[in-house]
Symmetry: C2
Subunit: 332 residues, 2 copies
């Protein structure tokens, strides 16, 4: 098995990507293709390991950044680390792509270069939201599609279900629809129609009804289905709130001698608490609905997070997640 | 000036409503009409004050709860504290309504009993979101309308602008559109079209472009305009995250002796921090776009929060907010 890693994408690129690749090679016995500037990658490789087996470099001189317009970047930057990694997968020279770079570019590339699974009109991105019990929920779609139709949300539920069953080992994932109330009749046109579809589907989906945004961190659902605009709002509000609270708390703990001493004493507890919101543990966000395995690692991924994202890709491939999605979509 | 208070709505009704009414009477020199069960209200009044001037009771034997279907409750429960308070305003026997009860019922009642301002198709609810700098932003619409059209969001911006100028004394409120990216072309059909309208309006609106959900607590905008489905997701995700973090932090601080001692030391700092997210300071959420002043106080309002919600109503009336909205809507 061979995993293509976009070595130039992400806040800690290329170092975290290269090192994460080495870790994954050692732990999961896979081959790693590092796509990016050969010189830079080589330097880090030589510093980090003396064993170069099962690691190859795919030279690419261009880099796609968050500032690039996604579709245009994919079309024009043919010699970029991302496009080269995607092409390797498309041409069956690799089995999956992992990138911590621009989400938009990865999405555009997954659709334009790799292509959609038959029957899937809109691939989606599934973000893992950690909750307070140490568990998580898959928020799908977390930002790939706006102005979704009910049929798209139905597909998101089907894809999320297979992903959690096969990759996260959850026997019967509880699927909920993000909504502004718990009753069936609540919501906008999209959610009301999607509710009907999910309730009456002949597929074995464990649909548990609506979930309000207030309950998302409470671990009541394993999959939260929504339009990408809404999913992005949920995800970004959550991230922003956690960030601002932690920042505010830090300031408050510096505000007096008493608070400073208290702050020192609670430091371990605070770290353990912060760990619950640690994205790196659960790996990255899968882009579901495209023909090959594509995993978006968090932009701030360190080498451990990169390793975990590669593990996700490995499990997807081993369990033929994309084949199962295609089968389910054909039967829906 | 006479403010009708729905004395039976909210988690702490009727006590907090009655006591808040007394406080407001004393501080703002207004008349208070307490709508609800006369016996219960009388008992609290007698316990709380020896001065009954400028306070009257409007007897109502029914109560509308959060479980009632809003429109049906307004139509059928004619003898409820809420409907009676709304009718008092409609019949010019009072100048404003303040309620801490069901948001849905208050919205339905504001529209059905009081009626919309000429030219306003959709009244909206504006929630005040406190931010880390001690300021706040008005999130409008925070849940009254789903499937909004761009014209509705334009009206939300106009109404929010007048409200912040007149009630919150902000000279030139920065208006932002909640969106999934900062560029003009980002978003769904609704936000792209609304952006165009807000950018090219001849009204003196200080439109500053898109705001991402991640930035909402950073105090970058004074007004955040969005569809009610989206606004509800933002508001509830924010509330849920703050709540779960505080709960989780508390547990963590009980996890060891060391943490417990540290916890005691940081208690004052923690309270000061929590105070920043205190809804009661800023009062309630105005329902904008209806003919009379209607303020929704937070469900968990204590007497101070009720008093502040009444203050908001007073300022709205004194500054003729509804007249100004009608004028602006005619000129848009």
């Amino acid at each position: 098995m061979k995993i293509a890693v976009d070595a130039m994408g992400g806040d800690n690129a290329p170092e975290a990507l290269v090192k994460g690749g080495i870790l994954a090679r050692d732990e999961y016995k896979v081959n790693i293709v590092l796509s990016g500037k050969e010189n830079e990658i080589k330097k880090i490789l030589e510093k980090s390991t003396s064993d170069f087996r099962n690691i190859e470099i795919l030279n690419a001189e261009e880099v796609i950044s968050n500032e690039d317009k996604p579709v245009m970047a994919i079309r024009r930057k043919k010699d970029s680390s991302l496009v080269k990694a995607l092409n390797a997968v498309k041409n069956k020279e690799a089995d999956a792509v992992v990138s911590a770079g621009s989400t938009g570019a990865l999405l555009a590339g997954a659709t334009l270069v790799v292509g959609r699974i038959n029957g899937i009109e809109r691939p989606a991105i599934g973000a893992l939201i950690p909750n307070m019990d140490g568990g998580f929920a898959l928020l799908i779609d977390s930002g790939a599609n706006v102005d979704s139709k009910p049929e798209f949300l139905y597909d998101f539920a089907i894809m999320g279900d297979i992903y959690l069953k096969k990759v996260m080992n959850i026997a019967s994932p509880r699927i909920a629809l993000a909504n502004i109330g718990s009753e069936k009749t609540k919501g906008d046109k999209l959610t009301v129609e999607t509710y009907d579809i999910l309730e009456s589907t002949h597929l074995p989906l464990n649909f548990i009804g609506n979930i309000e945004a207030r309950e998302i961190l409470q671990g009541k659902a394993d999959i939260i289905v929504c339009d990408g605009f809404v999913g992005n709002m949920i995800l970004k509000t959550l991230e922003g709130t956690v960030l601002e609270i932690m920042k505010g708390l830090k300031n408050e703990l510096m505000s007096s001698t008493r608070a400073k001493i208290g702050g020192l004493l609670i430091k371990p507890a605070l770290y353990s608490f912060k760990g619950k919101f640690d994205y790196s543990e659960h790996g990255g966000a899968p882009i579901l609905g495209v023909k090959e395995t594509v995993i978006k690692a968090h932009g701030s991924s360190d080498e451990k997070a990169v390793k975990n994202a590669i593990r996700q890709a490995v499990i997807c491939i081993e369990n033929k997640v994309n084949d199962l999605i295609e089968e389910s979509i054909m039967r829906r």
